[in-house]
């Protein structure tokens, strides 16, 4: 089980900020494929992963990064701080 967090419009499209997910995916991309297969709202959120960023255990990562040992995955749009 892994904690999956969503922020900004990813959170809005999926309709929740956080969930526990049971996954057998080896990489972030594999997890995205599993989520996208679930429901239309996930498909809408993950339609274009080039518009998304991912953090593994609160560190920015790539979509081909391995999930082994990761406890928290977060998906969000490019940041707009400052």
């Amino acid at each position: 089980m892994i904690d999956v967090l969503y922020f900004a419009w990813v959170r809005e499209r999926i309709g929740l900020p956080k969930e526990r997910v049971k996954t057998g995916a080896a990489t972030v991309s594999g997890l995205v494929d599993e989520l996208r297969a679930r429901e239309a709202r996930y498909e809408a959120a993950f339609a274009d992963t080039s518009a998304l960023r991912v953090a593994l255990d609160q560190e920015l990562a790539d979509f081909d990064a391995p999930l082994e040992g990761v406890r928290e995955v977060a998906f969000f749009p490019p940041m707009t701080g400052g």
């Binding site: 967090l5 922020f7 900004a8 419009w9 959170r11 953090a55 609160q58 560190e59 920015l60 977060a74 969000f76 749009p77 490019p78 940041m79 707009t80 701080g81 400052g82």
Partner: protein
């Protein structure tokens, strides 16, 4: 090195009061303050962030600045939540023996905070609300460092 992520307003005057105070190795201090502009009938702005990651990401950016430049002090404060036009969003401050380092480090901190700290702005006007899109120029600004 100080990092604060908070919902409450802050007062730059108070923050700077003790900044690099009592030191005689500092020749230059630079501050940057970001404010909410009232462009296009903006009613208010909401800033979402990623508690836990935000503090770590800013601390990592600040540590990078300290490695690159000879700084005697640095400070980053960033707010989240609801902000009205004219309100302060965030500030950075740097202190260094010489002006070049103080200026460059402050610009570096700003450029990285814009694109690498997990904040997202949502602008609300009379006609609705929309997430602010990241700008290509903000991503491009990182190339100079």
């Amino acid at each position: 090195m100080t990092v604060r992520v908070q919902e409450a307003p802050f007062d730059p005057a108070v923050e700077l009061d003790g900044f690099a105070a009592g030191r005689t190795d500092t020749g230059a201090q630079v501050t940057f303050t970001g404010l909410v502009r009232g462009d296009g009938g903006l009613h208010h702005m909401e800033i979402e962030h990623y508690p836990g990651m935000t503090e770590k990401a800013i601390a990592a950016i600040e540590a990078d600045a300290v490695r690159r430049w000879d700084l005697t002090a640095s400070l980053v404060i960033h707010r989240y939540g609801r902000l009205a036009p004219g309100e302060r969003i965030m500030m950075v401050a740097t202190a260094a023996p010489h002006r070049k380092a103080a200026f460059e480090a402050a610009e570096f901190l700003m450029d990285y905070l814009k694109s690498r700290a997990p904040f997202w702005k949502r602008e609300a006007s009379e006609t609705g609300a929309a997430w602010v899109a990241a700008k290509d120029e903000d991503e491009a600004a990182l190339d100079r460092w």
